[in-house]
Structures are given as structure tokens and as C-alpha cells.
């Protein structure tokens, strides 16, 4: 009997207690989980240590004396009649310089997609190369490289600068 009474008492107390807990605002028992993130465990990118890394500046070739540049219209890699004339003169000159190999650099003006301009510069250099080959220059002596819009001749943003920058250059590699 006594045990039952004690049990009843305990239950009543418990009921009141849990009622307090449940019906009042929960004390520090928010339902949203609060987790921990250890930031020092995250990996960081490895940057360049300037002292330990010895990069070499890439050598650039000089424009060949006796070889003139050719120019292109915006977003075009077809050869104008003027460009063809210059290429004919360049071919004659190359044929007198039997052992010189040439790299043809294709360039673009700064306008437009950089990625597309890399391809456009390549197409310009390739167009110049195939015309030189058609004029009797050995394909083995000619290589091409596109710099897209990365190496402007004139560093300005106007029609005149852009016209100068849409070009192919001819450089000796021996």
C-alpha cells in the first residue's frame, strides 16, 4: 500500500515536472542540431613559394628581317589580296634562305572570347602557312603558334590598335 502511494506520488511529481519541461519553453533543448566543424582539418591550396621555385622566362623570337607581317579583318582568317602579296614576297625571300626555319605566330585583337581567339589565331597562322606552302616553301620549315589576344603589338583599345593586332608574324627559329 505504501509502495503504491509512493509510486503515485512519484508519478504525480514526474507528471508535473515533465509538464513544466514540456509546456514551458524548453531549457537549452532546441531541436535544431548544433554540430561542430573543425576548420583546421580543412586542406588549403598550396601557393607558390617565390623563393623556392625557379621559373624561366620563355624566350621570344624576333620578327625576321625581310619578312613582313600580314593583317586580318575582325573575326576573319581569310587572306586579303594585300596579305597574299606580302606572303608572295615572304615566300621569295624564304626560298633564298634555304636553311632557315620559321614559326608563324597568329594573333588577334582583344575583342571577343579569349578561347575562341586562340583558335582564330591558330587559323590565321595556318592560313598563312598553307599559302606559303602553295608558293613552294617546304612545309617542314614552317611551324605555327597562336597567341590569341595575349600578345598585342599595340596595347590600346581603339580601331587602329585592333587593326595592328590582328596579324600573323614570321620569326626564325634556328
Amino acid at each position: 500500500m505504501k509502495t503504491v502511494q509512493t509510486l503515485k506520488l512519484v508519478l504525480i511529481v514526474l507528471f508535473l515536472f515533465s509538464g513544466l519541461v514540456g509546456c514551458a519553453k524548453p531549457v537549452t533543448e532546441d531541436q535544431a542540431p548544433v554540430t561542430q566543424a573543425d576548420m583546421s582539418q580543412q586542406q588549403e591550396a598550396k601557393g607558390v613559394d617565390d623563393k623556392s621555385m625557379q621559373g624561366e622566362a620563355v624566350p621570344s623570337h624576333d620578327q625576321m628581317a625581310g619578312m613582313e607581317r600580314i593583317y586580318f579583318d575582325f573575326d576573319q582568317f581569310t587572306l586579303s589580296s594585300e596579305a597574299r602579296q606580302i606572303l608572295s614576297a615572304n615566300a621569295k625571300y624564304l626560298n633564298t634562305m634555304g636553311d632557315v626555319n620559321v614559326v608563324i605566330e597568329g594573333h588577334c585583337d582583344e575583342r571577343g572570347s579569349d578561347e575562341y581567339n586562340l583558335a582564330l589565331g591558330e587559323s590565321r597562322a595556318l592560313a598563312a602557312k598553307s599559302y606559303l606552302v602553295s608558293l613552294g616553301v617546304s612545309a617542314k620549315r614552317l611551324s605555327v603558334i597562336s597567341y590569341g589576344e595575349e600578345k598585342p603589338l599595340v596595347d590600346a583599345s581603339n580601331e587602329e590598335a585592333w587593326a595592328q593586332n590582328r596579324r600573323a608574324e614570321f620569326k626564325s627559329v634556328n
Binding site: 509510486l7 512519484v10 508519478l11 514526474l14 507528471f15 515533465s18 509538464g19 519541461v21 514540456g22 509546456c23 519553453k25 524548453p26 531549457v27 537549452t28 532546441d30 531541436q31 535544431a32 542540431p33 548544433v34 554540430t35 561542430q36 566543424a37 573543425d38 576548420m39 583546421s40 580543412q42 586542406q43 591550396a45 598550396k46 601557393g47 607558390v48 617565390d50 621555385m53 621559373g55 624561366e56 622566362a57 620563355v58 624566350p59 573575326d75 582568317f77 575583342r111 571577343g112 572570347s113 579569349d114 578561347e115 575562341y116 586562340l118 583558335a119 582564330l120 591558330e122 587559323s123 595556318l126 611551324s143 605555327v144 603558334i145 597562336s146 597567341y147 590569341g148 595575349e150 600578345k151
Partner: protein, 432 residues
């Protein structure tokens, strides 16, 4: 027996509360709705008070949450005394005070700086329903403070929209700050730039591997535009493709087993698939014109790219299995730099109109084209954040080309890199 009673009673009492707590704040997409948010300054819980720590936490959270477009900030000048009280649990917050200020959400937090150890506790509360929505405890060093704030901003977006924010990620880009065009990495707010390459040549066009461990890029280091890969954490670097001519615009497939890129080895810029060690697997394009700048669909079945096969540069989509190719853009005379959005539905690109380039997006069926930028200057090279909420791009409106971010609807644009040096080709990493 007692325990059983206790559980039953507890469940009875707790039930109505959990039912109430299930009320959700509904948000559809950025910019469409704004939730009033009170962002309080983080308070020192113990240790040394530091204006710098609380200042940086606040600065990052304001910038990230404002960029999200989800919130309208309650003026901190109007805050009452509860803003100065620590409140990490809903019982410690004076919700009626915040409700009175018109706020529906509340961010509170503390920091504890002890020697080289920094602990930040951050909480997001629902003021209307008077409950804690989410919280996290960040443990680290003082140098981690900005990352902690970015991580919490990501969590806040996840709690309120179901999709995590992209603020803990990084942005890779090309800058000539060191004198040459090199690969750099920065936080998504433009802070903490780190240079990753030392090629002293021309480095171009970075793109992350889908799991974010590597960056692909092109470099002229060996006197030819070759494709490289670089492990971000170890710094290890290797040439992937170095065929004669172009090895550019390399983009790793979602599977990470193949790379789409532009090669000119066959005498004309075409798009190919190569294996991760450089062997050619498949040629995607074959025509007289230029084909370049591929971008993967999120499922890895298609590539968007630029081609001038019909005269002017336009964006096309090729199915890599069937080879079937369709033109996407029809307007304008110069469309380029496609970037397939992470949700798969839209593609961002640039178009030249009236002598200037601007950023557009279009649905992949060619409908619903939207112009996002309106000058001044050229806006180019769009790339999506991993959640599709934002677009980064380069703009030369201030002179040098520098990097900007905006929401995917074109609003909220802001500059990320300094005007002093040229920064371009941004790429947003997957979640870090």
C-alpha cells in the same frame, strides 16, 4: 516501469512542440522574396574580445547573405538591448523585441579567442516561431575566421532554401599581378588571393575538376599552348596534352574520366575527347571552321561549344554519343564562351552587340534568352557557382579587365578583384 511512464509522459508533452516546430519558412528563388533578417555582432563569450574577429565575421556574413538576395537586413542602428546579450539558445533570446523591429530571422553568435585557438558559435533563429533553426560550432585558429563565416552563410542558405550556399568554395582565375599571367586562387569574395603557378610565361583558362581537387589550365611554358593539370593541395603539376598546336580550353567530364578540349593537330581547331593522361579517345567536331571552348552538360552526355561553321561564331550543342549537333544561339553575329549551368537547364554565354560584349543566358532548347549585363565596357567569360545561384565574369568597365560576381538573374553585381591588375578567366570551384 517508472522509466516507461516517464517516456510516455515526455512524449505526450513534447509532441505538440515538435508539431509546432515543423513550420517551415518557404523560399522559392533568390531575388523573388526577401526575408527580414537581424544580423547581430558576434560577442566574446570568454577570452580576449577582438574587434577584428567580430568585424570580419560580420563583414563576411553581410556580404554573402546580401549577395544571396534572400534577405532584407534590419537596420543595426535600431537594435535594442537583446543585440548585446549572448543568446545561443532560443530560451535566451528576447523574440518579442526582434519581432517588434520587423525581423523574421535572427543571427546571433559568440567567439572565444584563447591564444591561437578560436571558437565561433553561430545560430540562426526563427523569430516568428521563436525557435532555433540551425547552429554550428566552428573550431580553428584566428586565420580561419573568414572561412567560418562563409561556412555559416552556406548553412543559413541551406536551412532556409534546402540548398547549401557556394561561399566556402574558391575562385580560380588568371592575373598578371606578378608580372606574368599566372594561375591564382581566391575566396569567393575576392579575398585571400594565392598564386598557384610560377610559369613566367602565359597561363590561361583554368577549370576545376568536378570533385574540385585539380585545376586544368593551358600554359605556354614549353613554347606551345599545352594543357596542364595541377593538384590544388599538393601543388603537383603535370602536362596532360602537348600536341603540336593548340591544347586549350580543357574541361574535365563530370565522370572525371575524360577531358574535352580544342586541338589543332589535324590542321584546324576541333574539339576532341582525351583520356586523363592525354591519349585521344574521340573527335567531336569535323568541319572547315573553328570549333572551340567546350562546356559539359551536368550529366556528361552533351557539350556546348562555339563554332563559326555557319559563318559567324555561334553556340552549338553536340551529343557526344550520337554526334548529333544543333545550333543553340540564333541572334547576334558573335556568340561565345558557353557555360552550361549546374542545374542543366540554362547556358550562359557572351554576345557582341553594338561593338560590346554582354553576358546572356538561354534555355538549352534555345528559348527564353535573357540579357544579364548592360555595359558599360565588355562583360565576358561567364561561369556559374556550383549551386547555380550566381555567375562570375570579367568586365573591363573600370579600365583593366577584372572579375565580378552577380546573381544568375543579373542583379546584385559587385567587383571581386582590384582594379590595379588584370584578372580574367574566373572559374568557381565545386564545394570546398
Amino acid at each position: 516501469m517508472l522509466l516507461r511512464w516517464f517516456i510516455v509522459l515526455f512524449v505526450c508533452c513534447a509532441l505538440p512542440w515538435s508539431a509546432l516546430a515543423a513550420t517551415e519558412i518557404e523560399i522559392s528563388s533568390p531575388g523573388e522574396q526577401s526575408i527580414p533578417l537581424a544580423l547581430t555582432e558576434f560577442l566574446p563569450s570568454e577570452g580576449v574580445p577582438s574587434a577584428q574577429i567580430s568585424g570580419e565575421l560580420n563583414e563576411v556574413l553581410v556580404a554573402d547573405l546580401d549577395l544571396s538576395g534572400l534577405f532584407r537586413f534590419v537596420d543595426p542602428g535600431a537594435f535594442l538591448d537583446d543585440a548585446k546579450l549572448i543568446g545561443l539558445y532560443s530560451t535566451q533570446v528576447n523574440f518579442p523585441q526582434w519581432r517588434m523591429l520587423g525581423s523574421e530571422t535572427l543571427i546571433k553568435g559568440t567567439y572565444s579567442l584563447q591564444g591561437e585557438k578560436l571558437i565561433v558559435e553561430a545560430r540562426l533563429f526563427d523569430v516568428v516561431n521563436r525557435r532555433l533553426l540551425t547552429g554550428r560550432r566552428y573550431v580553428g585558429e584566428p586565420k580561419d575566421v573568414r572561412r567560418m563565416a562563409h561556412a555559416f552563410a552556406d548553412l543559413v542558405l541551406k536551412e532556409l532554401t534546402g540548398e547549401e550556399g557556394p561561399f566556402s568554395a574558391r575562385i580560380a582565375y588568371i592575373s598578371d599581378k606578378s608580372g606574368d599571367k599566372e594561375l591564382w586562387l581566391m575566396d569567393v569574395d575576392g579575398k585571400r588571393p594565392v598564386r598557384l603557378t610560377n610559369h613566367r610565361s602565359i597561363v590561361l583558362n583554368p577549370d576545376f575538376s568536378p570533385r574540385g581537387k585539380e585545376i586544368l589550365f593551358t600554359s605556354y611554358r614549353a613554347n606551345n599552348p599545352d594543357l596542364y593539370r595541377k593538384e590544388i593541395y599538393s601543388g603537383k603539376e603535370a602536362k596532360v596534352s602537348y600536341k603540336q598546336g593548340l591544347n586549350v580550353a580543357g574541361r574535365m567530364a563530370p565522370s572525371e574520366r575524360e577531358i574535352a578540349l580544342t586541338l589543332s593537330k589535324d590542321g584546324n581547331p576541333e574539339i576532341y575527347l582525351i583520356g586523363t593522361s592525354g591519349q585521344v579517345r574521340k573527335r567531336i567536331t569535323d568541319n572547315w571552321g573553328i570549333d572551340s571552348d567546350p562546356s559539359w552538360s551536368p550529366d556528361g552526355s552533351r557539350l556546348a561549344f562555339v563554332s563559326n561553321r555557319q559563318g559567324n561564331p555561334h553556340v552549338f550543342i553536340a551529343d557526344i554519343f550520337s554526334g548529333k549537333t544543333e545550333r543553340l544561339t540564333t541572334r547576334g553575329k558573335y556568340n561565345a564562351t558557353p557555360a552550361w549551368g549546374p542545374k542543366g537547364e540554362r547556358i550562359a554565354f557572351t554576345r557582341q552587340e553594338g561593338g560590346r560584349f554582354d553576358v546572356y543566358t538561354i534555355k538549352i532548347d534555345g528559348t527564353d534568352e535573357r540579357r544579364l549585363t548592360f555595359g558599360p565596357g565588355n562583360s565576358e567569360h561567364p561561369r556559374w557557382s556550383p549551386d547555380g545561384r550566381f555567375i562570375i565574369y570579367s568586365s573591363d568597365k573600370g579600365g583593366n579587365r577584372v572579375i565580378y560576381v552577380m546573381r544568375a538573374d543579373g542583379t546584385g553585381s559587385r567587383r571581386l578583384t582590384t582594379l590595379e591588375s588584370d584578372s580574367r578567366h574566373p572559374a568557381w570551384s565545386p564545394r570546398w
